[in-house]
């Protein structure tokens, strides 16, 4: 009951909002040059591939959030609907938070965390403790 009231209040207070949020899956492979990666991005909304958006990809490291300025790169649409590919250049290996800026049909910002190493990216794991 409380949750319903809270939700109703929220729905009342908020201005018209997007129906559902776009989601992204990212997979990157090393592209030869050091710290350069070719990334395939799959965008979907409500389970359907998301087309008609411009995707700009930036990156930040979780531990120093505003200090690494990876130059944002515009992604090009791929063959299948909802697929985009982009080449990004990072500053070092490690865990990065990729920021996918969507504009056009849908305006949004999706953050995807990935661990970047020699071969490519993988799912971001837990931070390693020294002991």
């Amino acid at each position: 009951m409380k949750r319903f009231i809270a939700f109703a209040l929220f729905a009342g207070l908020a201005l018209p909002a997007q129906a559902a949020h776009p989601e992204a899956k990212v997979d990157c492979k090393a592209a030869g040059d050091k710290y350069v990666y070719d990334c395939m991005i799959r965008l979907s909304q409500d389970g359907k591939p998301l087309t008609g958006v411009e995707v700009t990809v930036g990156a930040d490291m979780p531990t120093m959030p505003m200090a690494h300025s990876v130059k944002p790169a515009k992604a090009k649409p791929g063959k299948d609907p909802g697929m985009y590919h982009v080449r990004i250049e990072l500053e070092m290996h490690g865990e990065w938070a990729l920021k996918l800026q969507l504009s056009g049909a849908v305006r949004d910002l999706i953050v995807v965390k990935q661990q970047f190493g020699d071969e490519g990216s993988g799912h971001a794991g837990q931070k390693m403790q020294m002991k």
Partner: protein, 304 residues
């Protein structure tokens, strides 16, 4: 039995913390400044040793020497750039202009060393020749890793040597005089600048050995070593009481014990939480740390 096992593990990590705290305290006790680049110098030394290990067949003893030498070199660089120029003639204020400038400058050099280290060895983990490649010993129901014994023994030896140097050599007398009263020591004809530089080298050497022992015991090196050494060393130093060497040793072991026990009963995040809570409470209630409870052997002057 868990309690005994945790105590054993705690003493092992405590040994490393004690060494780190001693290094920090040597610098703080004499210079009255915290050297934020200390952990980074250790990182640098260990990385150079790793680099050498990758490219040659050097034995552990050689690698230890390399680590110590690189750490001492790094420490000398830090001392020249951050601490020598900001020497205060009057008083021991850490928060005075020059004190803050020295600490922030040392932080800047910490960042330099971290970047240099990742440029040298970019990956997130490297193997390091292990101290011992066998199974842990079994002492009845307890298990004791051989590396832990080596770490402990090395720490004990190092501390004994340090004690001898401080108590029985002229250099040691000079250092203790500086800790007691820098102004008076200078007036007595002690070459203050030279002793500072030597203390720095000594602290860096101790740090280098501590770093080497830790990565050799773990068999791996990561760039987190810099932050880890800085945090644990300063934590242990403050728990033990700023400026007191016996306090630093005690603080290190206490921190190790506290961490291993709280990790067992409360999980890894609570382990850090408890350590910081202890430090904060100590600082709020009794900034003198453990040392202020020890009546003998502590420096007579407060370190604020």
């Amino acid at each position: 039995m868990d309690f005994a096992q945790n105590t054993l593990d705690g003493l092992t990590s405590g040994a490393a913390y004690a060494l780190l705290a001693v290094g920090f305290t040597l610098i703080f006790g004499t210079l009255r400044r915290a050297n934020l680049a200390y952990g980074a110098c250790i990182l640098f030394g260990v990385y150079i040793a790793t680099w050498v290990a990758q490219r040659s067949d050097a034995g552990l003893a050689t690698l230890a020497l390399v680590a110590v030498a690189a750490c001492v070199l790094a420490g000398a660089y830090v001392e020249r750039l951050c601490f020598a120029p900001h020497r205060e003639r009057r008083g021991n204020q850490v928060a005075s202009g020059a004190g803050i400038a020295a600490m922030v400058a040392s932080f800047a050099l910490w960042m330099q060393f971290e970047e240099a280290a990742t440029l040298l060895l970019p990956r997130h983990m490297y193997a390091f020749p292990a101290l011992y490649e066998g199974a842990p010993l079994a002492l009845g129901p307890l298990s004791l890793r051989v590396e832990a014994i080596v770490l402990f023994a090395a720490t004990a030896c190092l501390l004994a040597v340090l004690w001898l140097v401080l108590q029985r050599s002229r250099f040691g007398v000079a250092v203790r005089a500086l800790i007691d009263d820098p102004l008076a020591a200078g007036l007595c004809g002690i070459p203050v600048a030279r002793v500072f530089a030597l203390v720095f080298a000594l602290a860096s050497a101790i740090g280098g050995i501590a770093g080497f022992l830790v990565v050799a015991a773990h068999g791996q090196v990561t760039p987190h070593l810099g932050m880890w050494a800085t945090l644990k060393g300063m934590l242990a130093m403050m728990i033990g009481g700023l400026g007191s060497l016996p306090g630093a040793v005690l603080g290190g072991f206490l921190l190790g014990l506290l961490e291993s026990h709280s990790q067992w009963y409360l999980g890894p995040q609570s382990r850090d939480l408890i350590a910081y809570l202890l430090l904060f409470t100590l600082l709020a209630l009794r900034p003198g740390g453990l040392a202020s409870w020890m009546t003998r052997w502590t420096s007579t002057r407060s370190a604020s």
